[in-house]
Amino acid sequence: MKAGAATGRISGTGPLFWAVTGLLLLLVAFPLAFIILQAIFPEIGHASLARPFSGMVAALGDWKLLGMARNTVALGIMVMAGAALLAIPLGVFRVLFRLPLGRFWDLCFLVPFMIPPYIATLGWIMTLQPRGYLQQLTGINGAGFLFSIPGVAFVMVLSTFPVVYFAVSRTLEAVGQRYGDVARVFGASPLRAFWRITLPLATPGLAASLLLVFAMAIEEYGTPAALGRRAGFDVLVTGVDNRISDWPIDLSGAAVLSLLLVGLSLIAFFTQLRILSRRNYETTGGKPQAIERRPLGLWTVPVLLFFAFAAFIACAVPLLAILATALQRTLSGGLAFGNFGLQNFTEIWSQGSDGLTALMSSLSLGVSTALITGLLGALASYFVVRGTGRGRVLLDALSVLPNALPGVVVAVGLILAWNQPWLPVSPYNTPFILLIAYCCILLPFPVRYANAAFRQIGTSLESAARVAGAGPVVTLRRILGPLVAPSMVSAMLLVFAVASRELVASILVAPVGMTTVATFIWRQFEQGSVGLGMAMAFTAILITTALPLIVLIAMRRTRMVL
């Protein structure tokens, strides 16, 4: 690697490079390989390659599988369409018009990111089920709607549409108004300027965000599991779950379904990448100009009502339902003043309770996952973006692949891989298997943040450090490290928040006797102690939102973040 030595970067073949690559192989490639092997060789679990493809033929010949695949795609499309219908008008009104309380609405639409979809789903169940809060307050029973296919899509739209809302706002902010104004000068009416200029320019960013929503929808476990099963609506994710947790266990079937799911995710992911790399107009154009927002005039009140409605169903309903459930002494007592109390919260916070243990497990797993993925992601990204070695193609693939691995697939892969009889040691049935699962699922966040950060830093900064006499390692530590640190901290906070509430992998691979926040909530809900579960849900939302916020504020104080 002469080039590497000449430019003075850490070359792509050093021991550190191979350590990172090896870890990623173990974390990502190893489980995926066993899904593929299991799909082909049904007897692999007994260290035998007998009857290749028989399981795959059986699974693919199963008409149920076709139905599940179709349901998955249909759900993805419905959620995508719903999110577009809700988020595009919201984004357009927010950016192009003078909307009162603009920042407040942005804040409202951040809330769904803080509520994991399964918790929001439970909130909606409490609200719309027979004798739920809606019926108690208005006499309307919404169970028929909720436990149906549109109901599943509805709840998922509410937890995903902010992705589209913020994408639309960002692209419109970057491209739309300015070019639209130019079109007005050349004779286009406002509507025509919007259709011919503003919308086409915003389309790539919009399409990419919709594909992200599609991927989120087909990978989601909690909502279809809690709502769809009662409607007889099975998707690939719940299908995989059924095959590995319900008797008779069908590992080959689970592997085949997993591969189908990975295929769909891969398609969504790469289409998204293609769109963004081929036509992204956000970076074109000259000096940024302040947006001249149009007045809404007579439309102000209807538009505000629209925003309030969206904020109400997306944030207020789930949060209030969770809180109301957590604060009731008994569910049968209903929403009566005398029925409210802090019982559930005290029970969770009492010394040695199951709830407190679960909380501590999840928080420590969250912190560990954040630290490991942060370090791994930053190093992998550094080698990929700045490295020179040929091995970086492999590393690139390994660090991008988890984007297309849904949690349920990672869980299946870990079960298959780490239960092989020939393994001398295995993390299976220890807390480490959860740590591995979380790291694999969440690695994409730090990688994405680090890639963006490294790309933003011009190579001349490194060159300047080298010219000033710093070696490659010193340059990494003194120059690049501090520059990417703020991005990495943000990514790690995100990883922490998501990992400490992760549901599906926790259900599937948690060692016997270990409970996490998510499995605690899920079990309490299934066993009927809903109040306790919701108290935990509320506590978890508070902690996983507050801790990152505190860290961010502390960093701002110390000027780590600009």
């Binding site: 050349f186 286009a188 009416s189 000259g286």
Partner: protein
């Protein structure tokens, strides 16, 4: 003069009447007032942040004035007193933007065709006119390319083609060349000038480059801090700057404040008078004096009215620019042109050319009128 004033109001392509513009609490334009006759080019010249773009956006209809009115081709298009406002698409303009603003998702041809399309012109005519406009800016056959494939100068040419393709009654240019390097700028100034002349365009041309303004415009409006300080022909501006500010901005020479004592005009702290009293305005003790470059002629040391010492000498291609101080008449720096290089520290005599002196009253923006033969 009288020819223009006798024409109907419709002969004015643009009339801006007493326009002020506020952004929040800050007043960005303050009582701007001017008229642009049809077929003429007016340059808006001023330093960064003086409100040039804001004024252009007001004319284009991208902004409504807080006070005052705007008219285009004799029709009122915006009037703050009645709230009347005609949106930009109804004003029939062409505009060239500082950052080109070509739509990145359309080809060059589609970009240039857009104004024609908005005017409802059929496809075949559109195609011929687009090609003709592209030919005119030297980009014939570029129609199928994308804006991102072109260089900055080519992109700006496309933007010009887009602005003129529909033959609008008024074209607005917002610093169209400021993003280009000097050579390209000089070339494009020439091309725009030719285009303006052959098409007989009426144009408002915003720039902060004096050479650009002087070479393109029939009249130049010098802007300072949100208002027009002086609007005149380029020749008139140089000959009769309205204020010391204008003179300084146009780099016409050295501006100094002088006081009258006894029979001389003195710089503060001098041991010798700068000029005899009779050369300045009568009836006042203080004034602002513009020493234009042609007001001082270098002569041999000991000759002339003033004695100077050379600080610096810079070669400027066809002349030397000398920076001088007058050791006895006050520590001011003067610059003047000379045919020969001078050494720092060298002594020079300066001969005064009284006709080339410009006098202004202190802190009053109108020049003090001197009776011609007095000099």
């Amino acid at each position: 003069m009288s020819g223009i004033s006798r024409r109907a109001e419709a002969a004015e392509a643009v009339t801006v009447r007493n326009v002020s513009q506020d952004y929040g609490t800050s007043r960005v334009l303050n009582g701007v007032d001017f008229a642009l006759p049809t077929g003429q080019v007016m340059a808006l010249l001023g330093p960064s942040g003086c409100g040039k773009t804001t004024l252009l956006r007001l004319v284009a209809g991208l902004l409504a004035p807080s006070i005052g009115s705007v008219g285009i081709a004799g029709n009122l298009v915006a009037d703050a007193s009645t709230g009347f406002f005609l949106p930009p698409e109804k004003r029939g303009l062409g505009m060239v933007f500082q950052d080109y603003a070509l739509w990145p998702h359309m080809t060059i041809g589609e970009n240039v065709a857009f104004p024609l399309e908005m005017r409802g012109i059929g496809r075949s005519e559109r195609e011929t006119r687009v090609e003709a406009a592209l030919q005119r800016v030297g980009l014939g056959g570029f129609g199928a390319r994308r804006p991102s494939d072109l260089s900055g100068g080519q992109q700006q040419r496309v933007a010009i083609a887009r602005a003129i393709v529909a033959e609008p009654g008024l074209v607005l240019f917002d610093e169209p060349l400021s993003n280009l390097d000097r050579e390209l700028r000089e070339q494009l100034v020439g091309e725009i000038g030719e285009l303006v002349a052959t098409l007989g365009l009426t144009a408002l041309y915003v720039t902060h480059d004096q050479a650009e303004a002087f070479s393109l415009a029939d009249s130049v409006a010098v802007m300072r801090g949100g208002h027009i300080v002086q609007a005149d022909s380029p020749e008139q501006l140089v000959a009769q700057p309205a204020t010391p500010d204008v003179a300084e901005f146009l780099k016409l020479g050295t501006v100094v404040e002088v006081e009258a004592h006894g029979d001389g005009w003195w710089l503060p702290g001098a041991v010798e008078a700068l000029l005899p009293r009779s050369l300045g305005p009568a009836g006042t003790d203080d004034a602002v004096l513009l020493l234009t470059r042609s007001a001082l002629r270098p002569v041999a040391s000991g000759e002339g009215q003033l004695q100077a010492v050379v600080r610096r000498s810079q070669f400027r291609g066809d002349h030397h620019l000398l920076t001088l101080v007058l050791p006895r008449a006050g520590e001011i720096e003067l610059s003047l042109t000379s045919d020969r290089r001078a050494q720092p520290g060298e002594r020079l005599g300066l001969a005064l050319v009284p006709e080339a002196l410009r006098w202004f009253a202190r802190s009053r923006p109108v020049p003090v009128r001197l009776s011609e033969p007095a000099l």
